[in-house]
Symmetry: C2
Subunit: 342 residues, 2 copies
């Protein structure tokens, strides 16, 4: 009997600067066989996320680096196609953090079962998953926006940013988004209800930003860092709060770039800036999921997905994050389920 084969995506090189397709290697392997308490999972959707760029670098960080010539790992949705656990049966849909592979074997304890009738299953990789939770805790716990304040969000049309802006609106603030195309600006204002949005690729960006901020900035939710953040920071009000979620502008910069020192301004304005990762909120995640689920059901939260079809296009989808090709959450559709009806 011939073992069945599938593919996984390995890290072929540690990229210097912007990663390329050559940094990823598709390797054929035997489909693994589940042991006691394990299940065999068929991957349906993969999540590609900017933070993964950091894990490609061999440096100490809050999560260990990816290993060379080993499968990359990330958030995914999968269908149970074989179960040796009492907790799962064929056709169950689960979310977990597993290898970028067409199939995975996993212990039942590592899996979270998803109710496919409650929302689109992909919501569990976006608004109800790490993305939505990152927006929820990063905005509310760190920046605590108050009704009437001005909240600025960079990377506003991205997965996290688009949720941040909507939560800020729910809290009664004035929300100004920063994004990189006129289509995204239109989307933020007309689809998501942002009060204003500014295109950072325009020559008039700094002027446009100032015009969009007649009352300055009370809260800045920062996904990007770099020059964009420098421009926002110049407009901070007294007692401003900055929630640092990402710095995508520098993820592919090996040197560590230079920017204006901000200490003097932070003193003058009593500004607080804090970085975070979702791990800081491990104990509070259920409360976040509950709040996001409720807002989603009440129609107060919209979410968009950019879905690339085909496992072979996963590297392309990942690289697109750094070019801003995605609107909302970037996902890869790997396969349809065999047993589940979605």
């Amino acid at each position: 009997m011939t073992a069945q084969l599938h593919k996984e995506i390995q890290l072929a090189n540690r990229p210097e600067g912007m990663p390329t397709n050559d940094d990823f290697n598709f390797v054929e392997k035997e489909i693994p066989i589940p042991a006691e308490n394990e299940v065999l999972l068929k991957t349906l959707y993969l999540s590609v996320d900017p933070y993964m760029r950091g894990r490609m670098r061999d440096v100490k960080s809050y999560i260990p680096p990816f290993e060379l010539n080993q499968a990359l790992t990330g958030g995914l949705l999968a269908e149970v196609v074989e179960s040796r656990s009492d907790l799962f049966e064929k056709g169950d849909i689960v979310s977990s953090n597993l290898s970028w592979a067409e199939y995975n074997v996993a212990n039942a304890s590592k899996l979270q079962k998803i109710d496919p009738t409650a929302a689109s299953i992909t919501a569990h990789l976006s608004v109800l998953g790490l993305t939505g939770l990152t927006a929820y805790f990063g905005l509310l716990d760190i920046a605590n926006p108050q009704a009437g304040e001005t909240v600025v969000v960079s990377g506003a049309a991205g997965a996290v940013g688009s949720i941040v802006g909507q939560i800020a609106k729910i809290k009664g603030t004035r929300v100004v988004g920063i994004a990189g195309s006129d289509d995204k600006i239109d989307y933020l204002i007309n689809e998501l209800g942002f009060d204003a949005a500014v295109n950072y690729k325009k020559d008039s960006f700094k002027e446009d930003l100032i015009n969009a901020l007649p009352d300055g900035v009370d809260v800045y939710f920062d996904n990007v860092g770099g020059d964009i953040s420098d421009a926002v920071i110049r407009q901070l009000n007294k007692h401003a709060r900055i929630s640092l979620c990402g710095a995508i502008s520098s993820y592919n910069n090996e040197e560590g770039d230079l920017g204006p020192r901000m200490q003097g301004q932070f003193i003058r304005t009593s500004t607080m800036m804090k970085g975070f990762t979702l791990g800081d909120y491990a104990k509070e995640l259920p409360a976040g999921v509950a709040a996001l689920t409720q807002w989603l059901q009440e129609g107060k939260l919209k979410y968009d997905e950019t879905i690339v079809e085909g496992f072979e296009n996963t590297p392309e989808a990942f690289l697109g994050l750094f070019k801003g090709t995605n609107l909302g959450k970037q996902l890869v559709k790997v396969a349809d389920p065999e047993f589940a009806k979605l």
Copy 2:
């Protein structure tokens, strides 16, 4: 009858870069005459402070700029030499924020009476005044150091830094100071009980700093900014807190200098950084004074003063702050009291 004359120090120019003696102008004026509810004050001691450099610049900040050809103002200790208020009598010692002048007239409501028997009166311009309170709230409220953590203080031998380090020791932390001479290093370790101290003027500074921080940095109380802070920030632990009190390294830099962007590292370490000024704690000042007074009486807080003699040397004393010539609080002794016995 001829009016009596005295001198005040006016801002002659808005300095560009490092101020010089030429930026100050000594102007002779008539000694003012107190009206109803006012007193005439003879200045005994003046406080010179780094934050005053910011007020010499014509920019919006948390306090308005000094006016050209008007007297500079600052913290001072004075003796009541004539009183038209029921609240004060000749020989009372008061602290207030008034003109850099040999005499001031002030409304009684603006003055705080000092008990000259409780502590040396100059303590009210240092450990029990704005200096001590700045150390107290900036360290405890913003950084909340926990026993066993490592606290780094820059400008450690200065007025604020030396108090910060001692409060951090009272809280059971390991304290590492940064200062600019071997005498200061010796003072921090052998007089104030710091666990370690590093001279930033040595070529081996970065190496020495790393060696002094075997367990990294949990709290950084920053008086200086610039390269020194860059070096400390590279050693931050997860969940580090940075209290931004001053950025003296850039106060005389008109361009706004560049430094490594810190957002990425703050995200990896979930670091929090906050600027403050003492005005943020206006309602809580009495609690701070009470705590500092108690520690002082218990012998847990030492404070040092560098006292320059003579009103005419006030500009020199101020300029010395940027050269690090002071150990502890820099004061100017203007005159002896006429009536009070100290």
